[in-house]
Amino acid sequence: MAPAIQAVGLEREFKGAVKAVAGIDIEVSAGEVYGFLGPNGAGKTTTVRMLVTLLRPTGGSARVAGFDVASQPAEVRRHIGVALQEAALDLLMTGRELIELQATLHGIPPRRVAARGQELIERVGLGDAQDRRVGTYSGGMRRRLDLAMALIHSPSVLFLDEPTTGLDPVSRVTLWDEVRRLKAEGTTIFLTTQYLEEADQLADRLGIINGGVLVAEGTPAALKAEVGSPHLDVTLAGTDALDAARDALGRFGALRPTSDPCRVSVAVPDGAEAIAPVVRALDEAGVLIASLEVVEPTLDDVFLAKTGERLEDEAAAA
């Protein structure tokens, strides 16, 4: 089956020889959630704008839903839904008016416009607010309306550009649930985000972009495994059992250096599954513990390994 999204050497250069996207290769299978992760200015939005035909590539090629973005843009637009970084809504219109306009623009027959609009409005939980002007909506409501509009024509491929930026935690989780639901329905989703947790939670596969270049690609688990295995940090109740603890834990994996005299750290490839046998071993050795924690490599560790910087530091600096 042909990929839902395929980019080969995709490039975009702006005036002044600024290469916002410097030749990236991406392949997204049908029904997959592809996370596109990177800091501000990495080239995420530029890539999305090229794939949704709002920006012409200056190099390479891309096909979306089987159509070339440069030579068949109208066909691409017919098969995609787009929710851009800024929820581009007309604040003077009501939610119902906007979604019905979107339905008309996507060629939904006049007799079905109202019903289809109502269906999507209810799906995103805006039934009570549909006759209010969008200018009165909260950020979360606007995002939900934006998503509903992107889904009005049941697209096979959906582009979500930083859909939860600026949302409160509850709204963010609501949107995540909707993304999972769409995935279950078979929609291919191209999701850009600067939030590690979002990428980790939602994406089947991730592409990490930095400075216009794809620096890593793979499943979240595979990417994290590249940079290290989980480890177990055990904080002892006192320093007198340190040797006994090190003997007990040394059977499970390589001991890791720590500067804390009350702490022992051991690599545990099995992750959380190692907790029970470790606790038993420490108990049999008569070691009292204050706390125990499984620490997994994070996507930030992956970003650090690939770029030399932490994504979370860049986000905080921005």
Partner: protein
């Protein structure tokens, strides 16, 4: 395409009604200027060289007020499009599977309707305050036709500016220029009463023929010459402006 154009036109019209601050400049300002001119300058009709067959200064000034209002309507249309571009809604329209020319045509269709409403408003205002439309209903229809075509053209100019400038403040910045162009025409005073170089400029200013074309059925009977000149001026403005706005759209799409 027609369904798309109608839907976008309906949206544009609805938004104009929901944004009274956009309507006010189109009618309030020209109305105030009309009142000031008629109230303070009515003895202009006694000047040597002023057409002797004009019933009153209000009859003479109505066309100027309509022309001014239509020009401001064009600026307003441009500001509306620029705000769409700034706010990102324009991108939403570009991402939809519609002919992109429909985005411009929808806006222009709305502008035509608004232009007709502007003409009706000023003719009605004039009649309330004692103006006479010498050519009667056919004359009023001629004024409406010239006004609608000219208003569409001014709207297309506004859209062109918005597509090039992409900024509402830039489009708004041409507002003073509108007045300059209007004052160096025969919209407010007969060309023969203008001093040089205004008189020379007015001779070649299409707004002169536009205003005279709308004025003639009000102050005279229906006459082919001024009517055709008015329609030609309005049509010429509209044709050139629409062509430029299409080019501006293509230029913007090409840049992206």
């Amino acid at each position: 395409m027609s369904r798309t154009v109608l839907a976008l036109a309906r949206r544009a019209l609805r938004n104009v009604l929901r944004r009274p601050q956009f309507i006010a400049p189109l009618v309030v300002f020209p109305s105030l200027m009309l009142a000031a001119n008629v109230g303070g300058l009515s003895r202009t009709t006694s000047l040597p060289g002023f057409p002797s067959d004009v019933h009153g200064f209000l009859d003479f000034q109505l066309a100027a007020a309509i022309t001014q209002s239509l020009l401001l309507g064009g600026v307003s249309a441009g500001i509306a499009v620029a705000l769409e571009i700034e706010g990102g809604f324009f991108d939403r329209l570009l991402a939809a599977p519609i002919p992109r020319i429909a985005i411009v045509l929808g806006r222009l269709a709305a502008t035509t309707v608004i232009a007709l409403a502007q003409v009706v408003y000023f003719l009605g205002l004039g009649l309330v305050f004692g103006a006479h439309i010498k050519a009667g209903v056919p004359g009023a229809l001629l004024v409406a036709a010239i006004g609608a075509v000219a208003g569409t053209g001014f709207g297309a100019l506004g859209v062109m500016l918005a597509l090039r400038a992409k900024s509402a403040s830039t489009v708004q910045g041409i507002f003073p220029l509108v007045f300059v162009v209007l004052f160096v025409s025969s919209a407010f005073f007969p060309r023969q009463l203008l001093e040089s170089p205004a008189r020379q400029i007015a001779r070649y200013n299409p707004l002169s023929y536009l205003a005279d074309g709308m004025r003639d059925p009000i102050v005279h009977s229906l006459r082919a010459g001024p009517a055709l000149e008015g329609l030609a001026a309005a049509g010429g403005i509209a044709a050139v402006a629409i062509a430029f706005s299409v080019l501006a759209l293509r230029g913007r799409l090409g840049q992206t």
